[in-house]
Amino acid sequence: MTAPAIELKGISKAFGPVQANKDISISVQPGTIHGIIGENGAGKSTLMSILYGFYKADAGEIFIKGQKTQIPDSQHAIKAGIGMVFQHFKLVENFTVLENIILGAEDGAMLTTSLGKARKELKHLADEYGLNVDPDAVIENLSVGHQQRVEILKALYRKAEILILDEPTGVLTPAEADQLFRILDRLREEGKTIILITHKLREIMDTTDTVSVMRRGEMTATVKTSETSPEELAELMVGRKVLLRVDKVPATPGKTVLDVKGLRVVDEKGVERVKGIDLTVRAGEILGIAGVAGNGQSELLEVLGGFADGTGVITMNGTEIPLTGQGADGRARRDAGISHVPEDRQREGLIMEYSAWENTVFGYHRDKDHQSGILMDNAGIQAEAQEKMDRFDVRPPNPKLAAKNFSGGNQQKIVLAREIERNPDLLLIGQPTRGVDIGAIEFIHQQVVNLRDQGKAILLVSVELDEIMSLSDRIAVMFDGHIMGERDPAQTNERELGLLMAGITDTSAVTNGASEEALNDG
């Protein structure tokens, strides 16, 4: 048996009182895809940052191809044949692809020779691995998927034999993710070793050969992917049994709460993003909007939430609500009984620098019961925030901690606590579990279903097809600003929805029971 591509022995790393990695040992075989799975904060990224020379381990040894190796900085990692694709890309956005690729790996002091050589090499790599990118394109004009390819090309250009990918699909559409995994397969065939860090069980099951599970800084297990199951992995990750399917009874829809007719939205660049859609959401049901990111779902949420203008007719509980000008803002929407959990919680849902208790009251801070004379009733708000955080199992349950210090899942719980506890008639919820731990996902899904069971209307937008299918009572698919069709989750499948998401409405080959009227817009 050949020496492992990477072997870590007894790696420990602490940040102040937080032990991010505890005595971790792992062995990665060459020519395999090795998954590392764990919840946010389990220490996966810290471990990989140590391997890439970003952090120095407090204790432990690193062996590359059987050789003991010191990696004090990224330069040494690159020399040792390690390439890393970070979750947040490390690209210079106003540089071309070629410039980004040669940065730090130039040949000589003059650029012309370096660029010429890189251009040839890039073409070679593109042919070999199917990684096609226009070398002269400027990064900021590329799609996220292509930017990621540039990161992979950067590593390969530096002759990386070991490629680490940190949460690579977090920012990708399902189609882009599929392409990525095809590329990874190809790289594995060529003998490269790949370490895939993720918290998505499906990716692990679909792509890896071996999987290591981390929990709270420790490596809890390493198993062959073929010999495990998602349920077992989830349990290893969270430390308890996790319900992977949403537990819910059939919906009993009541009267129409939200009615949208002919909604059109033009963005600030003058591009029409929503091209005349009709939809209704009734009390006691969840309408899921599926679609690849960027097909108008975000704009739909923004108009309904009152922070973008649109044209068309929207009635809420039978009353028309304004879509532009006065009365078309978040405050008016909240008064109309609409709560909104925005897609980008860090930018639109929370003020990251502010404490959790302050964040639990934003938007509702004018309410009479939050006032005490001319001042805010801060003590009352804090006490209430504490209760809400306990009820929503926000960890740590400390209302004075700034929002930025909570993990993604706990941030989302803070937003949910604020919006759900207001008892809205309609809840708009975008990407409810993006960047959220598996344990928290279960909780958030349960909250949404509970709200539905209380007879509230819910409009769910998500790019995660699994989530749409397991939560929704009806599914509408958006493509290019249109609703391509509406489906009953019990009578459809991922293939059919995938076709609709790609703009193909002729899905008779894969199923039956399409709602005819909804197709007219396509």
Partner: protein
């Protein structure tokens, strides 16, 4: 207004634009690397003083230049320590440097020369002489002919006027300034160092993960900034004027920053921007021309304020969208 008047006005624009140009290029290097430097003014001032002092003691303008550059680089290193090593606030560090320079130059000047915070006037080789290009009508020709220079130039043809007034007869540092523009462009866009410099000002994490030291790059940029500010200050004291006087930079470091924004952090644009601001300053020297053009007398104080007013007007209204390097003013902290 005659052709020669315009030529003379442009000639003065070049003379007055040159310190702006050096300072602007200095700022360009610094800001392209992600270090905002509002201490250009202070570095110019201290360079002006030390170059004048050294030139006075040694009687050699070149030694004065070296002393000016050295003094400016000391302040550059302080700014580097504060903003790169200790990740302090770059604006505050810059402000501190400006105060330090403004106070220290006058104090040291008074202590050394006892002339009310100025250096004694520089003469002879203590100043940079004007370079007379071949075939130009300069003082040598005038002396040989035994006639006043202005008269000889006035009689020459327009091309000779343009050549002799505008192109020839500047301090060597003026020509160095033009060279610096070309060199900056070439370094920035044609060399490995330039690529890394531009990258580190946009996304230092990209440079770091590519295995290149962010700290070293930024220090290199800050030191280059120090050299160029030294040139700017030395030019003021040993070329444009003959010696140091209190606060002689008079906000030029800030006008250079304005020119940098106006030029959108690009070297060749920077040259045109500095010439434009130099032109505004040149207008102040020729109230007679302004009166001839607009037909009324303009108060000299208003003309003096003109460059500053126009700076505000241009920055507020005429530049469109100027996007600074993305990582400007942000100390680099490693994170995954």
């Amino acid at each position: 207004m005659e052709f020669l008047d315009i030529v003379q006005l442009l000639d003065t624009s070049i003379r007055l634009g040159t310190p702006l140009l050096f300072a602007c290029l200095a700022g360009l290097f610094s800001e392209r690397s992600g270090v905002v430097d509002i201490g250009l003014e202070g570095k110019m001032l201290i360079a002006a003083f030390f170059s004048a002092a050294a030139a006075f003691y040694t009687g050699n303008a070149w030694l004065g230049l070296l002393a000016g550059i050295a003094a400016s680089m000391v302040l550059a290193v302080i700014h580097g320590l504060a903003s790169i090593t200790f990740r302090g606030n770059q604006l505050i560090s810059g402000v501190a440097i400006n105060f330090l320079a403004a106070g220290m130059t006058v104090l040291v000047a008074q202590s050394w020369f006892k002339q009310g915070g100025r250096t004694p006037p520089l003469t002879g080789n203590g100043r940079f002489g004007n370079v007379e290009l071949p075939f130009a009508i300069g003082p040598t020709e005038a002396e040989a002919a035994g006639r006043p220079l202005s008269q000889m130039i006035g009689e020459a043809g327009p091309i000779q006027q343009l050549y002799s007034e505008l192109i020839s007869g500047h301090s060597i540092l003026v020509y160095l300034g033009v060279l610096a523009v070309v060199a900056t462009w070439w370094i920035l866009f044609r060399t490995r160092f330039g690529l890394r410099l531009r990258a580190v000002g946009e996304n230092p994490a990209a440079v770091d993960t590519a295995g290149v030291s962010v700290i070293q790059l930024r220090y290199a940029a800050v030191l280059i900034c120090g050299v160029l500010c030294g040139l700017a200050g030395a030019y003021m004291a040993t070329s444009l004027q003959a010696g140091f006087v209190k606060d002689m930079t008079a906000g030029r470091g800030f006008i250079a920053l304005a020119a940098l924004i106006f030029a959108k952090w690009r070297p060749v644009y920077a040259m045109w921007a500095c010439l434009l601001f130099g032109f505004f300053q040149a207008l102040e020297t020729r109230p007679d021309l302004i009166e001839a053009v607009i037909g009324m007398k303009v108060q000299i104080q208003l003309l003096g304020a003109l460059p500053y007013i126009l700076t505000v007007v241009i920055l507020a209204g005429f530049i469109g969208k100027a996007i600074p390097p993305k990582a400007s003013a942000e100390p680099y902290i490693k994170e995954r």
